[in-house]
Assembly symmetry: C2
């Protein structure tokens, strides 16, 4: 007997037929003698509709009211799944965020879970009752509904798994696992049986949309064994686990990319102490995240060129902030460029293998792809390239690192 | 300065444009210096969609999960209206049933409100904050969401008005008031300026769908001045008030009807003590409400015919229950008839005026309309007639009682 948390995303509960399908899948685990808790997202499309209504209603929204509106989607699914389970003879009840409760901080719209009261749920495991928890939501210190940000149901599931000390947290989605690269672009991409938390974290934050980044952090911190698998195909998915559990570590596990990047170059910035703070301070004040930064060597010793990236949605705002500060910064020109992508090579094996970055650079060079910015971490090398080279770069790198399916 | 509760039904908040319209209407009251609380229904069609999902999901539903699912509609509207008000500069916040809370009994699906904690709302009136309460919902003793039955938002509004001791409870709907009869049938029907609680109660329970019956009872018990008016037309509606407030009482205030009636006749029932109990006991056990009852005089002294009415939706089930009990009841035949309507003449003036019933009977007789069953109360005379005569009967009675518009 194991204790399992199962999480179903929006496409898995998109309509009543699929909710019934989910119920049958849950019943199988219950019939096998497992203790089961389920976390559900809103029916596909519902959250978008709710967010659209909020945007239509007002220019700037009060995040507390936004949370009240958008959290209703998961409320509906949790009730419907409880009913579908009861209909096939499984004892089940829904739990809303405020009912357990799932205590969060007070940052409405992107709250963080602090604790989950699971006494009641655990007590009912003994009676074989399945707990259906509405994902994505919690209760803030102000006694109002909070939400965890888009994709937050993954985090709800991992947090619940940690709280009930589950043996496994199964994240059911519309893909059947984590791939070495995006299979829609790299047809030779392979499904991974296992991946480490660290790699999954890099993959998630580098644009692979399988799991919400925060849910992976949480899984890593609490050592929750997470499995990513399809709710439509009956096959094992990818296990996200501790590095110790993976005997044969690949040097590189995957090639990720993100289209959500935009580049800004400041031409001829005075090359003196304090100039970086003068540039990035106003951006931080405007809540604009800066990702990659590179300072070019200039031929003129008194000035330098500075390049950095921001989220594509923040580009116009970032340029505006920079222009506002022009008088202090004294640059010659600001050059925005939205037509860039970030490509990242990820693998824990990098720590013990030299030459991983060099192979990336030479592979891209052999295809005449110019690298605009480079950034590295212990288990990742990222480069910024022109968007038009994305497919070419992904496929070339996938082959170069020996990831292609046989 | 007055304290006002405004309630907006589903058609009044059917989309974002209408919610903004509602916000402007609320702002006008706030700008006039009034203290305002608002109760909202779900957007038109949303509750039906949610109920349909529940029906598709399971055969017999757990009313607690049903409540969790269907209460989400009002949650969305309350948040959106708060946002729409904030957007035009009015301080506002949404309150869900569990947040105030609105304490109800534990009868999920048709709970009754016991108390509403309004301290917080009243405190915020001083800061000109508008409270938007999600209608139709409360918190049960089990800590779960309860709902009040279809049309329950009217009851939420009146209960809130009673709890905050509001000067008036304005119920905004898609009609501009209470009419002497259904204007879709009786073109000469007039809008009433005022009507008594007792009359409104009879009208509501006799099929006029302007207000939920329970909301009128509550208004009467707590002496809440209710106004029924249109959210689309800018004009006074109908005030539902105490009898003392109406100086010139009409003998008859209105002619109501209900199509939701079905007749069952048991032919040749043994005419002995206990037979009525033997018939109506099983129906009560099956939760079938019996409305009108008449026992005919039979030519045969040992048997009698018994006629009664049930809700149209219960007809098949009622016949089944009766057939099951056939061996004990010993009747000759059961004759169901769904093609009947109930027409009611209502007016507090009846108490002091004789001949009201007689005028009804003679008017119907003059049109050759056969009366099948009669029932009366202090301020109402109801008759059951064949459905095909409905329009003719309504118009003839409207004229006979001098209700026609000039």
């Amino acid at each position: 007997m194991a204790r399992i948390v199962m999480k179903f995303g929006g496409t898995s509960v998109a309509d009543v037929a699929r909710i019934k399908n989910v119920a049958r899948r849950v019943k199988r685990e219950v019939d096998s003698g497992h203790e089961v808790a389920v976390v559900v997202s809103a029916m596909a499309g519902v959250t978008n509709q709710l967010v659209a209504w909020v945007s239509e209603t007002c220019r700037l929204h009060d995040a507390r009211e936004y949370d009240t509106v958008v959290a209703s989607g998961e409320q509906v699914t949790s009730g419907l799944l409880a009913l579908a389970l009861q209909d096939i003879g499984v004892s089940a009840r829904s739990w809303l965020g405020w009912q357990l409760p799932v205590h969060t901080d007070g940052v409405h719209g992107k709250a963080r879970i602090k604790t989950i009261d699971t006494d009641e749920v655990i007590k009912r495991f003994a009676d074989q009752q399945v707990a259906i928890m509405a994902g994505f939501q919690g209760l803030g210190p102000d006694g109002r509904i909070t939400t965890l940000g888009r994709g937050g149901s993954d985090t709800s599931a991992v947090a619940l798994a940690a709280a009930v000390q589950a043996d496994r947290c199964d994240i059911f989605t519309d893909v059947d696992g984590v791939y070495t690269s995006d299979p829609r672009i790299v047809t030779k991409a392979r499904k991974l049986d296992k991946i480490t938390y660290e790699e999954m974290l890099e993959l998630a934050s580098q644009g692979a949309k399988v799991l919400q980044t925060r849910s992976v952090e949480l899984a890593m911190n609490h050592r929750v064994r997470v499995q990513v698998l399809s709710s439509f195909v009956d096959a094992p998915g990818t296990l996200v686990v501790d590095e110790d559990e993976i005997v044969e570590k690949e040097v590189v596990s995957g090639i990720a990319y993100s289209r959500d990047e935009a580049k800004i170059t400041l031409v001829r910035v005075p090359d003196r102490p304090g100039v970086a703070a003068a540039i990035f301070g106003p951006l931080a004040d405007a809540a604009i995240n800066v990702d990659m930064i590179v300072q070019n060597v200039s031929d003129d010793t008194k000035t330098t060129d500075l390049t950095f990236t921001v989220g594509k949605a923040d580009l116009a705002r970032a340029v505006h902030v920079i222009e506002e500060a022009r008088s202090q910064l004294n640059f010659k020109e600001v050059r925005p460029d939205p037509d860039v992508v970030k490509v990242s090579v990820i693998g824990v094996g990098m720590r013990s293998h030299a030459g991983v970055a060099q192979r990336m650079f030479s592979t891209l060079a052999s295809k005449n792809i110019n690298i605009q910015v480079i950034s590295t971490s212990e288990i990742k090398v990222s480069v910024l390239i022109a968007e038009e080279y994305l497919e070419l770069a992904l496929r070339a790198l996938h082959t170069a690192y020996g990831l292609d399916a046989a």
